[in-house]
């Protein structure tokens, strides 16, 4: 009964109306409420099946080198330290360090690297260049062919250090004049060493770059084979039962954009409402237990935030049902994903909000949760592993509808996801248990008398 009262209090509030509106607008703006134009079809031979990322050193190393060389030449590095793009301009000393790394990777002397960059700058100054990354070919011919057996044929430059590694004529390295000139990864460069060097670049850049060891896989883009495309499609049909993939995509947006942060606002408002309404003492002196009060309020917040999310999940999911009529679909998928994927994030957000608010009597929880959310969400989706990291507040997964929702990746990482979600659920319960203790202590004056002496003692 108390739960219903608390739910009513929550739902009939301005804050809740704002929560619902922001949630709808956020998801709508990302197209997460209507996937109607993303029908997945059975692949046919000869089609373009898109790409995937694989940790193939022969692909990653030249691609990463190309990117690094381009940014080095322009001294304009793109990083995403907290998600938002940041253009980093290095000092001369730091550029020298990057040049040393480039030198080790390519076998070209540091002095030569720096001179090549000066040439680039000179050409750029005359306006002859259209951009280092487009006119300057690095790392072999970059020719990657997918074989019919699922293998890759990668054409690499000749491994002749005397001839291939060191340009025959440095003038050929000019940006616009010598598009065929090669600056390639040394043939004896071990991938493990390459990763270390790239991580050093990331460190110089202040982290958040695509050169970070766990981000390098982003350079391993390879075309999907027909067999892989069929396998991916079958997993989408058989394992996801179609709706599961769409539900996962919705969850990905919902957990990252709203449910990891917005519940904290409702929780904080819920906990401060008694004080703001000068009603705390009327409630403290009732014979209801602290456990019942806190648990009712917590469940009310969770229920209030989950009801619209579940409805929106079904609205989103139902937008594609018509396109797969006749196929076997799991109509409970939106509910399962909402409860299993999204709810633990809402739980921790609300629990942390209640705990810190009861402890401090301030809305500091909003700032704490806000920073956590900002850091977590902007950690991005550099790799599948990082998306399912143990302490990931908002597990990310889907790269887009045409990925067929990465069903296999999802299945491969299911245990990690479950562990993550259970961990957050348990942490939430722990926070709530602490909140109950704090509430009872505040109710008995054990905390109040330390922080509100003047007010209490004045009468």
């Amino acid at each position: 009964m108390l739960f219903l009262q608390e739910l009513k209090k929550t739902v009939f509030s301005v804050a809740y109306a704002v929560f619902v509106i922001v949630t709808i607008l956020s998801l709508y703006s990302q197209g997460a409420l209507d996937f109607g134009d993303s029908r997945i079809t059975m692949p046919r031979p000869g089609e373009n099946y898109g790409t995937t990322q694989k940790e193939i050193p022969e692909i990653i190393m030249p691609a990463a080198l190309e990117e690094l060389w381009g940014e080095f030449c322009e001294n304009n590095y793109r990083t995403y330290p907290i998600g938002f793009i940041k253009h980093v301009k290095l000092s001369d000393r730091e550029q020298q360090q990057v040049a040393e790394i480039l030198s080790e990777i390519t076998g070209v002397s540091k002095e030569e690297i720096l001179r090549m960059r000066q040439d680039y700058a000179a050409h750029a100054g005359t306006g002859n260049n259209n951009g280092a990354n487009t006119d300057f070919v690095i790392g072999g011919d970059g020719n990657i062919q997918a074989g019919s057996d699922g293998s890759y044929v990668i054409s690499l430059p000749e491994n002749d250090t005397d001839n291939a590694q060191v340009p025959k004529d440095v003038n050929d390295l000019s940006i616009t004049a010598a598009p065929e000139t090669l600056l390639s990864v040394r043939g004896d460069m071990a991938y493990s060493r390459f990763r270390i060097l790239m991580q050093q670049v990331d460190d110089i850049l202040g982290s958040g770059s695509s050169y970070a060891a766990d981000s390098l896989i982003g350079f391993g883009v390879v075309p999907l084979t027909y067999e892989e495309a069929v396998q991916r499609y079958n997993a989408f049909i058989d394992s996801d039962k179609i709706t599961g993939g769409y539900a996962r995509l919705f969850s990905d947006y919902a957990v990252a954009m709203t449910m990891s942060i917005l519940p904290v606002f409702l929780a904080v408002l819920m906990c401060t409402k008694d004080r703001r309404s000068k009603m705390s003492e009327l409630i403290y002196t009732r014979n209801v237990s602290a456990l019942k009060v806190i648990l009712s309020r917590y469940l009310a917040v969770i229920t209030a935030v989950m009801i619209p999310i579940i409805l929106l999940a079904y609205i989103s999911n139902a937008s594609v049902w018509g396109q797969y009529s006749g196929s076997e679909m799991d109509y409970l998928a939106p509910l399962k994903y909402a409860l299993g994927w999204i709810m633990p994030s809402a739980m921790i957000s609300a629990a942390l909000g209640m705990c810190l608010t009861e402890l401090t009597n301030t809305p500091i929880a909003i700032a704490v949760q806000g920073f956590w959310w900002l850091f977590d969400v902007n950690a991005g989706i550099r790799s599948v592993a990082s998306s399912y990291a143990l302490f990931r507040l908002a597990p990310r997964h889907n790269a887009g509808a045409m990925s067929c929702f990465r069903t296999q990746d999802y299945l491969d990482n299911f245990r990690r996801l479950v562990t993550n979600r259970l961990l957050f659920a348990v942490l939430s319960i722990l926070f709530i248990a602490i909140t109950v203790i704090i509430y009872e202590a505040r109710r008995r004056g054990s905390i109040n008398e330390k922080f509100s002496f003047k007010k209490t003692a004045s009468n």
Partner: protein
């Protein structure tokens, strides 16, 4: 069934290093009990301690035989109306009562029955659909009493209930409290002597955390017999009188001023007069060294005090 009383023995309470209650010992029986004292005397601290909102440093408190440490049981038999309170402004009177009834563990039928009965008792039945934020100060106080009585408590603790009320509301509120005290203990804390005078038989005076007086109103008046005097003087003498006398009231008439003052002994040119509770209360403060002389501005204002 345990006896309807509150026993407080050697109660001490500190805020940091400041002692808010000093060896307070009281026994409170059924009926209205007035706790009189100035702001800062420790009244609210004592009230909150009895309502389980504050923890004592040491001493013993039992409420109807239940040790205060057993907060859960105490809360079942205590109703509390704090000095400053309100309710969720978006709720109407009935909803607020219902919500607090749920927190008191009442069933739906009990809540309906008690809410109807109590709203009738406090004369708010016709306002039960009104938002709490739309209630006047007096109505809000009456609603406060109603909510405090929801669980039919054996002890009702009311802290400074008449502050800010107009005279009519104050009288109505006093009567309401007196009615509720018929079958329970009602502790009324106030610094307004008139409230005590109109409602309480048993009282205690608290000052600086200490009990200065415990007894009946009549006994209190008796202690002030022969200690209250009036004297007429020239208005120019006021500053001098202020230095010499513990003045409790005065009024001016032309160039004359009539002062009412406390004294342990008869003073020259002064006439003994019948003490009231205010005089007796001030006498206890005087004896405790807590009497604060009237200020210059108060003297200059003229009229009665």
């Amino acid at each position: 069934m345990s006896r309807l009383n509150i026993e407080i023995k050697n109660l001490n309470k500190y805020y940091g290093k400041k002692q808010a209650l000093q060896n307070v010992t009281l026994c409170i029986e059924q009926g209205m009990f007035g706790l009189l004292g100035r702001n800062g005397a420790g009244k609210t601290t004592l009230m909150k301690t009895l309502a389980t909102l504050l923890q004592k440093k040491d001493g013993e408190i039992t409420v109807c035989g239940i040790p205060i440490e057993n907060a859960g049981e105490i809360r079942k038999i205590v109703g509390y109306l704090p000095q400053e309170f309100s309710m969720y402004p978006s709720m109407n009177v009935s909803e607020a009562m219902d919500y607090l009834g749920i927190l008191s563990g009442l069933s739906l039928s009990e809540r309906r029955e008690r809410t109807e009965m109590l709203l009738k008792k406090v004369n708010l039945t016709e306002h039960k659909g009104k938002k709490v934020k739309a209630l006047s100060g007096g109505m809000k106080r009456r609603l406060g009493i109603a909510q405090a009585l929801l669980n039919d408590p054996k002890v009702l603790i009311v802290d400074e209930p008449t502050a800010g009320l107009d005279p009519e509301e104050r009288v109505r509120f006093r009567n309401l409290l007196s009615e509720t005290a018929e079958d329970r203990i009602v502790i009324l804390s106030t610094h307004i002597v008139g409230d005590i005078e109109a409602t309480c038989e048993d009282i205690a005076i608290l000052d600086s955390g200490k009990v200065l007086y415990r007894g009946t109103v009549d006994q209190l008046l008796d202690t002030a017999q022969g200690k209250v005097f009036t004297k007429a003087a020239d208005r120019n003498e006021l500053p001098k009188l202020k230095q010499e006398l513990a003045i409790t009231g005065m009024h001016t008439q032309g160039k004359k001023v009539y002062v009412r003052f406390l004294s342990e002994h008869a003073a020259a040119g002064a006439e003994a007069c019948e003490p009231n509770i205010e005089d007796a209360y001030m006498l206890y403060l005087l004896r405790n060294g807590s009497y604060t002389p009237l200020s210059e501005s108060e003297f200059g204002s003229g009229g009665d005090r």
